[in-house]
Every structure is written in structure tokens, then in C-alpha cells.
């Protein structure tokens, strides 16, 4: 009875769900009951040198080299980076810039591999005794294997898996929410590989030394809850809690999930670890298990290929680098007229302007939807009637309509004052807007412009310092010269011509 009351008051908007706002979206999980299949091997694999958040990698192979699946072909430069591994055995045919799934339509250097079909693979030493190993060692393994968060943010995983004295991780949250419509990769993974996910969770817990572990699943996946509960018991990890959350978008967002489970907010500009929480996607947990237990680097992932325009939707295990066109063709979608392809989910994914881009670590879904469904809401922006629905649904409690006004009119100082950078771009505001204002687009515009302004301000400041330093140096040199001249004049009464006129040359 209390649960019913709670549900009712939530529905009436009188009580928040675990986090502020959010929306109920039409689930459209067409592929929920379809088992994961292997995708055919594409004749060419295109591996971008950056498939994570952070700095790009440097190729380690040359054109003509033979590589094995799992072989490291690009080295991570810098700390926030993840190396790239060959996703099939074959020959490196070229290394050049190629389009990637990015709204700009710009490209990145990519390694092109022509698979030979032998599927010769290279793995690291399998560690069955991971429980006895040092967390630092395990962390290095995860870094070597190129693991990134597979929920969509693609943040290098090893960075989060750290034992920090100041911020001890108390709770590990395994994110099996998958709140985006259409997507069912995590759902299927939990159904089919529950044991591997639970083992991955155990490894993660061992690494960060967390007391508490929670697996969070939304109540629209009761079968996954059941399977995970059984897997937890089977693994002998009775203290791992499998919690069922009410279905609500964007519960799968890290900050919102943490708030819903712990009731605490991640302070602005800080990481979850600052409040003692670590959040990992279930897919990442599985990848951690494979990396540690089998020494297998990250070379493939499960992708939901779905949408009303796909003849044969499904959940596919796709090697990285497989062109999207090849994947879609494999599911019977060849004619792309009047069809939109979305990379990711419909709420946060990007529409692809070119489908020759490769599947990368961030690809959790490939959706094909008929055009009218989406284009009707685009470009028909009506004036804002200030209904306030956007503020109601905003999970970070912004005032989206006012914020968009500031962005549209280039009042960026105001936009910053209205906390533009706290927007998580979940799309709830645009989803409910009766005037179909592309609010998220305005925020992205504002963020981009502000970033540019900050960059140019920083550059201006640097230039100013450099210019001032130069002026001072010139002044010093002038004085030194004058002093030298007067000294020379004093010693040799008749004036001598000045000796040196290239004074700036010692600078190098």
C-alpha cells in the first residue's frame, strides 16, 4: 500500500523520483527478446585513433604490417587515454584521416585493417588468481586492455578504478538501467552473461576496496533483475544488492543514478569518487572480467541495431571498426532514402550524416528511423510560451528556457551565470517542449562558444604575458647597451662605433 501511494504521488508530480524531474519515454525496446548474435566480419575495419574521452593515440603499426586480433596498434598518449587494439587479424592497408561519428562530420586519423579471416588472436596472460593480485597491477592490466566506459561516456576505466586514501570508495554501483528507448545491449548482456558481469563486479570491488555494491536495474527489465539476483547468489556474493528502480529517463546518467541510490549529489566540478561512489556500466564490468580473467583487450562490443526502418533488428556483437553501412546492410537495410541513422539512443545519440563511419567503443546503438517522425519537430521552432515543463523535467534543476534565451542571444555571461555547464544534455527539456524548441542544441551552441571564448581568452592572456616579457627584455637590453656604451666612452675617450646590433639573437 505505501508503495502504491508513493507511486501515485510520483506520477502526480507531487514527489520526486530518486532524482529531480526526468520524463517517461516510450520504451520501444524492439530487441529486448532477441539474443546477442555475432556480426559478420567486414572486408575492412577502420579504427580511429581516439575512441575515448581524452587525448588521441599514436599508431604503432605501419602500412603493410600484419596484426593479430587483440594486438595493440596504437599507443595511448597522456594520462586520460586508452590504447587501441586490432579487432581482427589481417593486414594494415592504410593509415589516414577518415570520418568518425561526430556531429561536425570531421575526421580523425584511422588505421585501416583488411581482415584475413583467420582470426588469429593475441591475448595477455589470463589471471585466474586475480583475487591475490595487487589492485595496482590489475589497474595496469585494465589500462593496457584499452577499457573505457561502455555506457556511452567512454571515459577510460582505469582512471576510476583507483584506491585513493583521501576519497575511499564505499559504494560500487553497477549501472544496468539502460533508460534510453530502443537500446537493449545491457539488458541482453545481463540476461546472457550475468555470471561474467558479477565476476567483473567482484574484480572492481576488490580493486577499489568498496564495502557496498549495488546493481541497479529499472523495473521494465524484471527478467534481468531475476537473472542478476540468481547470478549474485551463485557467485556467493550475497551482500551485493540488486535494486529495482522505477523506470524513468535519464536514470542511467551517472549523477542521477547516484542521487537515486545514495540520495547524495555529486558536487559540481567533482567526480563521484569525491562522495565515495564508483559507477560502472554492466558492459564495462563484463569487459573488466574478460581483460583480467582472460587477458582479452577490448576489441568488440554489443550494439543494438534497431528502429522502425530496420527490417531485421537485433543485438549484435560487432568488432570495432566495422563500418555502419556494413552493419545495417547485414540487417537488411540497404535503401537509405528518407531514413535517419542515429548513433546511440534517440535521446542523446547523434544523427549520422554519413554512414561510412566505423562502430567505435562509444557505439551502444545504431537506430534507423523513418524521417518524418523526427524532422517534424526540427526546424519548426515556435516561440517559447514559458510553460515551465522544461524546468520541471530537468534532472539538474536548470531553467532551460531562460538558459536557451541567453544562448540564442549570445549573452554567454548570463548563460554561465545560469549554470550552462551543469547541463548534462539528456534532452528531457527538448522532449517535452510544446514549442519544439531545440533547447539542447542551444546549450551545445552556448557551450561551444563559451569554450572558444575561454580558449581565446587564455591565449590572449598568454600572448599578453609574452609580449610584456618581450618589452621588458628589450628595455633591459637597451639599458645594458646604453650602460656598455657609456663605459666604452669613458675608457676610450674618442667615441667608437657601436659593436653589436643584433641583440635579439640569443633567444632560442
Amino acid at each position: 500500500m505505501p508503495a502504491l501511494l508513493k507511486n501515485l504521488s510520483r506520477k502526480l508530480g507531487m514527489m520526486p523520483f530518486g532524482f529531480h524531474g526526468g520524463v517517461e519515454v516510450d520504451q520501444r525496446k524492439l530487441t529486448a527478446s532477441m539474443a546477442i548474435e555475432d556480426c559478420a566480419l567486414s572486408p575492412v575495419l577502420i579504427l580511429p585513433m581516439k575512441q575515448h574521452i581524452g587525448e588521441a593515440c599514436t599508431p604503432l603499426v605501419h602500412v603493410g604490417d600484419y596484426v593479430k586480433r587483440g594486438q595493440k596498434i596504437a599507443r595511448a598518449e597522456g594520462y586520460v587515454a586508452a590504447p587501441v587494439h586490432a579487432s581482427a587479424s589481417g593486414k594494415v592497408v592504410k593509415i589516414e584521416e577518415h570520418r568518425i561519428a561526430h556531429p561536425s562530420g570531421m575526421g580523425l586519423p584511422c588505421i585501416f585493417i583488411e581482415p584475413d579471416g583467420d582470426d588469429a588472436s593475441e591475448t595477455l596472460e589470463p589471471w585466474e588468481d586475480w583475487a591475490e593480485r595487487d589492485p595496482g597491477e590489475l589497474r595496469e592490466r585494465i589500462r593496457m586492455c584499452g577499457l573505457v566506459g561502455l555506457g556511452g561516456a567512454v571515459f577510460p576505466t582505469f582512471i576510476k578504478l583507483v584506491r585513493d586514501q583521501r576519497h575511499a570508495v564505499e559504494t560500487v554501483i553497477l549501472n544496468g538501467i539502460e533508460c534510453e528507448p530502443y537500446l537493449t545491449t545491457d539488458h541482453r548482456l545481463m540476461l546472457e552473461h550475468a555470471d561474467e558481469i558479477v565476476a567483473g563486479l567482484a574484480i572492481i570491488r576488490h580493486m577499489v576496496g568498496a564495502r557496498e555494491a549495488v546493481i541497479a536495474i529499472e523495473d521494465n527489465k524484471p527478467d534481468a533483475v531475476e537473472t542478476m539476483r540468481r547470478a549474485v547468489v551463485a557467485a556467493g556474493l550475497e551482500d551485493v544488492r540488486v535494486t529495482v528502480m522505477p523506470t524513468r529517463y535519464p536514470q542511467g546518467s551517472e549523477k542521477q543514478l547516484i542521487q537515486a541510490i545514495t540520495g547524495r549529489e555529486v558536487p559540481a566540478g567533482k567526480l563521484p569518487v569525491h562522495i565515495g561512489v564508483l559507477c560502472q556500466n554492466v558492459g564495462t564490468a563484463q569487459a573488466v572480467f574478460h581483460a583480467v580473467r582472460h587477458g582479452r583487450p577490448l576489441t568488440e562490443r554489443v550494439v543494438t541495431v534497431s528502429g522502425e526502418a530496420v527490417p531485421r533488428p537485433g543485438n549484435l556483437r560487432i568488432p570495432f571498426g566495422t563500418p555502419v553501412r556494413f552493419v545495417l546492410a547485414g540487417r537488411g537495410l540497404e535503401d537509405l532514402n528518407d531514413i535517419h541513422i542515429i548513433h546511440g539512443g534517440p535521446m542523446m545519440g547523434e544523427r549520422l550524416r554519413n554512414i561510412d563511419v566505423p562502430v567505435v567503443k562509444a557505439t551502444n546503438g545504431l537506430l534507423a528511423v523513418p524521417e518524418p517522425q523526427m524532422s517534424s519537430m526540427q526546424s519548426s521552432e515556435q516561440p517559447c510560451i514559458r510553460c515551465g515543463h522544461c524546468s520541471e523535467v530537468c534532472p539538474v534543476m536548470l531553467v532551460p528556457n531562460l538558459l536557451a534565451d541567453h544562448c540564442r542571444n549570445d549573452e554567454f555571461t548570463r548563460a554561465e551565470q545560469y549554470q550552462l555547464f551543469d547541463c548534462i544534455e539528456c534532452g528531457c527539456c527538448s522532449y517535452v517542449c510544446p514549442s519544439t524548441i531545440p533547447l539542447v542544441h542551444y546549450f551545445r551552441y552556448g557551450k561551444g562558444q563559451l569554450a572558444q571564448i575561454r580558449r581565446s581568452e587564455a591565449f590572449a592572456e598568454e600572448s599578453r604575458l609574452r609580449s610584456e616579457a618581450r618589452e621588458q627584455r628589450l628595455e633591459r637590453e637597451k639599458q645594458a647597451k646604453a650602460a656598455r656604451r657609456s663605459r666604452v666612452r669613458k675608457t676610450h675617450a674618442p667615441a667608437e662605433p657601436s659593436d653589436n646590433n643584433a641583440t635579439g639573437k640569443e633567444e632560442s
Binding site: G107, L108, S379, E381, N409, I437, H441, Y445, S456, G504
Partner: protein, 194 residues
């Protein structure tokens, strides 16, 4: 007569009191230097390019603060800088005389360089390294694209190239809708209100 005296003396005394208070206030609230110069200088792009007709960004800032120069002479700063300065100064924005060009970088064709160091001396931000009789090269991260080094080069080996676009620096454009264009219009009207 008495009334006249009363009027003059009372008014005079009152004025004197007010004058004394103001004199004291003048002392108390003396403003050292002109804080506006610093504020304007902070808004300028610091390319030190001299396209404004002043020898650098700071001198231009001084000229603007004193009202000697208009707010619309900074070419690389473009419309945004002009609007910010106008806003700070509380004056009407003026339209720019020249369109800001795309950001450029100087590039030295090293095989043609004779190592004369003339460009090094011209560079206002020390972005060129080299020594006499050695190849010079431009530190791309430091170059402001001011073109001041192009002129002095005796063998014409310096090219101005477009600054390469990075995918990380790509910024979303405004959405392609009528409302978005209305915002644009508003801005251009603000800018064009000369």
C-alpha cells in the same frame, strides 16, 4: 539691505560648507590611475598586431579608455570584442570597419630561410625561434597570426596559413530555425547601430 546681506551671506556660507565637504571627498575618493585601461586591455585579443593603428593592445586600450579612439578598431577581436568594450564603456556599439579574417598562423619555409633574424625581432610575442645563420621556425601554439613577420622577411619565405581546425575545438552552430535567426538579427542590429 539687511535682507541682501542675509541672502548673500547665507548662500555663501552654505556654498562654502558644501565646497569644503566636496574637497574632502575629492581627497578621500581619489582614483589612482585609470582602472578602465586594465579592464579594456583584458578584453583585447593581445595579438599586438597593430591593425588598430596603435603599436599594441595596451596602447589601444589606453586610447579607448581616454575616449581618444573608437571601440571598433580591433580587427582580430571582431564583433564580440567590440560589443564587450562598448558595453564596458557604456557607449553605443559601432559597426566594424573590417571583417575579422579567419585565424591564421605564420609558417616559415625553412629551406628558403637565410637565418637573418629579422622576423624574430618583428614578432611581438616571441613566437619565432632561431639564431643568426640558422633556420628559424614558428612555435605554432604561440603565434597570434598578426602577420608582422611577413613584411621584414628579405626572401619572402613566410606564409600565412589558415589555423588548422581541430575536432576537439569544433563548436556547435546555432540550430537552423527562424527563431535562432531572430537572435542573430538582434545581435547584428546591436552591432550595426552606428
Amino acid at each position: 539691505m539687511t535682507q541682501f546681506v542675509a541672502a548673500v551671506s547665507s548662500l555663501g556660507a552654505f556654498a562654502l560648507v558644501a565646497g569644503i565637504i566636496l574637497a574632502i571627498a575629492q581627497k578621500a575618493f581619489r582614483v589612482e590611475g585609470d582602472p578602465m585601461v586594465e579592464k579594456i586591455d583584458a578584453l583585447l585579443p593581445q595579438t599586438q598586431c597593430g591593425q588598430c593603428g596603435y603599436p599594441g593592445c595596451k596602447p589601444y586600450a589606453e586610447a579607448v579608455a581616454s575616449g581618444e579612439a573608437d571601440v571598433n578598431h580591433c580587427v582580430p577581436g571582431g564583433e564580440r570584442t567590440m560589443l564587450q568594450i562598448a558595453d564596458l564603456m557604456g557607449v553605443e556599439p559601432k559597426s566594424l570597419e573590417e571583417e575579422a579574417a579567419a585565424p591564421m598562423l605564420a609558417f616559415i619555409r625553412e629551406d628558403e630561410c637565410i637565418g637573418c633574424t629579422l622576423c624574430i625581432k618583428a614578432c611581438p610575442v616571441d613566437a619565432i625561434v632561431g639564431a643568426p645563420k640558422q633556420y628559424h621556425t614558428v612555435i605554432a601554439d604561440h603565434c597570434t597570426g598578426c602577420t608582422l613577420c611577413v613584411e621584414p622577411c628579405p626572401v619572402d619565405c613566410i606564409d600565412m596559413l589558415l589555423k588548422p581546425e581541430l575536432i576537439e575545438h569544433w563548436a556547435w552552430p546555432l540550430p537552423d530555425t527562424t527563431r535562432a535567426r531572430l537572435g542573430q538579427e538582434r545581435r547584428s542590429q546591436h552591432a550595426g547601430a552606428a
